[in-house]
């Protein structure tokens, strides 16, 4: 369970994860916001459809890739949230395969 230990969250803004509205501290990056909201897994891998989430939180591992405002492959740990942002899990299908 991720939670904040700050006395005050500061200003809150609303972002959307797969349609669900989340009220998040405006200083958070996307990965932190989703972890706090208990989102488990940000993407499925191409080859084996594995569920992956953030690992390093510093832009090195590229496991936290997610779809933000309809653009794939966004590194959620280095992207700041913005009001009204639409986020969804990233699922890549291998060409030719029917999922």
């Amino acid at each position: 369970m991720f939670r904040s230990i700050k006395h005050s969250q500061g200003e809150l803004i609303t972002i959307y994860f797969e349609g669900r509205a989340l009220s998040v501290s405006k200083d958070h990056n996307v990965a932190t916001a989703l972890l706090e909201a208990d989102i488990n897994g940000f993407r499925k891998t191409t080859l084996n459809n594995e569920n992956r989430g953030p690992y390093c939180m510093m832009g090195v591992c590229f496991d936290c890739l997610i779809n933000i405002n309809d653009v794939d492959n966004q590194q959620s740990c280095t992207t700041q949230i913005s009001d009204g942002m639409k986020i969804k899990r990233q699922i890549m299908n291998t060409p030719g395969k029917d999922e």
Binding site: M92, T94, P95
Partner: protein
């Protein structure tokens, strides 16, 4: 008494295909390959099985290329059955883009020539931008058109190389990781030496890329080749959107895009040049503007092994019968004929057919 029936020097796409082909014919084969830091043209690969445009001025080469394309399916299936490696082989045709009206006209003429030179065997279709949109919905507005041929296809070249090595091993072939330093012809057999040992064989096939240049004279052959660098950009994996291979942009089976290419005279430098990379990016985003926000994650330069006329070299030594030298920069396209036909010529005929005579390096003696 020879240790091996044949020895192949070089474990790249040419060497491995020949090695596999020989082992497949029941020969006892050894394949020599250098270590990790060797210059390997096989690593720098777009993965195209390309027929259109090849041998535009040499119908023999065009025919040879078509022969390989025709056999690719059978070749790929056999490899997969043997090794369980899926080569991601697709043979549904491919496009070469024309980025100006002049290019389009030129291309059309070239395609017509190839069609008539092949007595109608080679077929193609020219597409204008609006027609292209139906097959390639993301095509950019500045693309004048493209030539399409159902003769073209693509494959995962790294899996191809891996499958050839695995099949070679499974069929009893022996891989020796060592640099060949000397070859001697004695008593109708060859002595192949490295720094630490020597082995004997009845036939030797030089498929060692640039090293062919120094090894060939040892068996009375010459291989006049020179390096030309081509650079490729590789992008992150994206959702499938390109279902046909094209000359400049290809989406691999894993989802990443390969973007090419360049033709640089830089000696043996396998690095990258930022200006060339820029040109490739510009061209790719002009062809498919939807790629603007896709990220490049890797770039590499690789050396094509070229002859002055761009045609391959297939040679059999006269002074040392049983010694062959092969060189080509189309290791993927020709893999099928190398494994199935050329290996067969070496084993059964002990000579090369007249159809390949035109590819002897003697053509450079003027």
């Amino acid at each position: 008494m020879s240790d091996f029936d044949s020895i192949v020097v070089g474990g790249g796409l040419i060497g491995a295909a020949i090695g596999y082909g020989l082992a497949r014919q029941g020969q006892k084969v050894a394949m020599f390959d250098e270590g990790d830091n060797a210059i390997r043209a096989a690593r720098g690969n777009f993965g195209l099985i390309w027929v259109q445009g090849k041998g535009a001025n040499n119908p023999d080469y065009a025919a040879w290329t078509r022969k390989s394309a025709r056999q690719w399916h059978e070749f790929s299936q056999e490899l997969t059955e043997l090794t369980s490696i899926d080569l991601a082989f697709e043979h549904n045709g491919g496009f070469d883009f024309c980025l100006s009206e002049a290019e389009f006209t030129q291309r059309h003429a070239l395609m017509e020539k190839m069609h008539s030179d092949s007595q109608g065997e080679f077929t193609f279709k020219m597409f204008r931008n609006d027609e292209l949109m139906k097959l390639l919905p993301n095509i950019g507005p500045t693309v004048t058109g493209a030539s399409f041929s159902s003769w073209d296809g693509h494959v995962n070249p790294l899996y191809l190389l891996k499958a050839l090595h695995k099949a070679f091993k499974q069929l009893g072939g022996k891989l020796i990781t060592s640099t060949v330093t000397d070859i001697r012809y004695k008593g109708r057999a060859f002595q192949v030496s490295t720094d630490t040992s020597a082995v004997a064989c009845e036939k030797i096939i030089l498929a060692a890329g640039f090293s062919n240049k120094t090894l060939a004279p040892k068996v009375g052959l010459k291989v006049p080749i020179y390096p030309q660098r081509g650079e490729i950009l590789v992008t992150e994996k994206i959702k499938p959107f390109l279902y046909y291979p094209t000359g400049f942009v290809r989406q691999t089976d894993e989802g990443g895009l390969l973007l090419g290419d360049s033709h640089e005279d830089v000696g043996f430098d396998e690095g990258t040049n930022i200006n060339e990379m820029q040109q490739i990016a510009k061209r790719a985003t002009a062809i498919f503007p939807c790629l603007k926000n896709v990220k490049m994650i890797r770039a590499w330069g690789s050396l094509r092994i070229l002859t002055k006329d761009g045609l391959p070299i297939y040679d059999l030594s006269e002074s040392c019968p049983g010694a062959y030298a092969f060189s080509s920069h189309s290791g993927v396209t020709l893999a099928a004929v190398h494994a199935l036909d050329v290996a067969s010529y070496v084993v059964k005929e002990s000579s090369l057919p007249s159809s390949l005579e035109c590819f002897s390096a003697k053509r450079f003696d003027v």
